[in-house]
Symmetry: C2
Subunit: 235 residues, 2 copies
């Protein structure tokens, strides 16, 4: 007796099955990114992804070992995008700044993906390529090794940290974002009455400030510090 019964109907009508491969890693990742942007992190499920691809959910497992693996691939796609949109000029400081902003922009361009993959750092190829690039720039410029490592870590930590955090607020659904703003507006409006008498006028300023990121400023501070280090050592 067979363990599994194949329904008669399924056995009867044979679908005009496709010829050749329909899917690919790239197509699946691109579709997943689109779904993330449109429906948020919770909206990306194997079944819906399959539907969007015109395929069965289980087909995805021919390409990825699981949703977890797919998540890592998506994370690496962000690094790939960051590197692709970056060009070296030879000026180490300008190059590092551009690379940092490039990473930052890649994350912000897919906030849902950034949040989804925030905690996944696993030495994927493009991620490693970014690391190699940074270290290569620093070494070429003549940073002695312990300093190069320190600058590299500060740089990548800071870039990723800001990217993830800023992406997180972008990743909120529009409704939640507006609700948040409302809460903050009230908080800010209420806050100063107790500690400062003349502040009502500055509440809008506080709210406006919410939409900016501290990343560029932090990045410049870091590069300043690195440049000073380099000058001190060589001069």
């Amino acid at each position: 007796m067979p363990k599994r019964v194949v329904p008669e109907a399924a056995r009867r009508r044979r679908r005009p099955t496709r010829q050749g491969r329909v899917l690919s890693h790239e197509l699946i990742i691109a579709t997943a990114l689109r779904m993330l942007k449109e429906h948020g992190a919770a909206g990306l499920t194997a079944r819906r992804l399959g539907l969007a691809l015109g395929a069965d959910a289980s087909t995805i497992y021919r390409y990825f070992r699981g949703m977890d693996d797919l998540t890592l691939a998506i994370a690496d796609a962000l690094f790939a995008a960051a590197l692709e949109s970056w060009r070296a000029t030879g000026d180490w400081r300008a190059d590092l700044r551009a690379l940092g902003l490039s990473i930052y922009r890649a994350y912000l361009s897919h906030p849902q993906a950034a949040v989804l993959t925030a905690s996944r750092v696993a030495g994927r190829p493009h991620e490693v390529a970014v690391d190699e690039t940074i270290l290569c720039i620093l070494r070429t410029e003549g940073f002695p090794d312990p300093d190069a490592v320190r600058v590299y870590h500060a740089f990548i930590d800071q870039s990723l940290a800001f990217a993830v955090l800023d992406a997180a607020s972008l990743a909120l659904p529009e409704a939640a974002r507006q609700a948040d703003q409302e809460v903050w507006r009230e908080t800010y409006a209420r806050l100063p009455a107790e500690t400062h008498p003349h502040i009502a006028a500055t509440a809008p300023l506080l709210v406006a400030r919410m939409n900016d990121s501290g990343y560029p400023a932090a990045l410049d501070m870091l590069l300043d510090s690195a440049a000073r280090q380099l000058r001190d050592r060589s001069g």
Copy 2:
């Protein structure tokens, strides 16, 4: 005809039901935090949480509107812990530094929770209390308002960003962490052969550096910058 059939057995034997309330918001949050630490973010489910509490999963919904609501409550508990372990001394710079490190430590003491709640910023009470505290310190010290806002944002952004990112690597299961280290060790060992001849000896240094956080340094840089600002303005 009743829509739902109540089984005879259940109707028969009445359980010796408990008297008084068994659960509380605090108990549920504490248990959830414990589960997060022990089993990771994926291990926190309504069913298992109920089991750990000696209650049915559905009971949790008497206290929280859903797992999402519970997540927000957990996030706020981190801010509460940060504030509780902090004491003001009157020195604005030392106080801010201590508060930043306090937030950082609170997140790192529950890495799983930090990662789980990274993208949830929703104006919960203790979170707002932290914000009020920071702004209050800056205003009391005499920061004019636009500067206070700027410093506040840089401070909280940077603190949270580093906390979340560093927590993310701590939140990895031990096996994954070791695997990651292995990948990086290989990468670092392989990297310099192409770009630098004498670097093999520094690979261990790079790996060791992995375990440090750039947060304290970044925090000091930020406070330096703020202090300079304040001096320039008043002097």
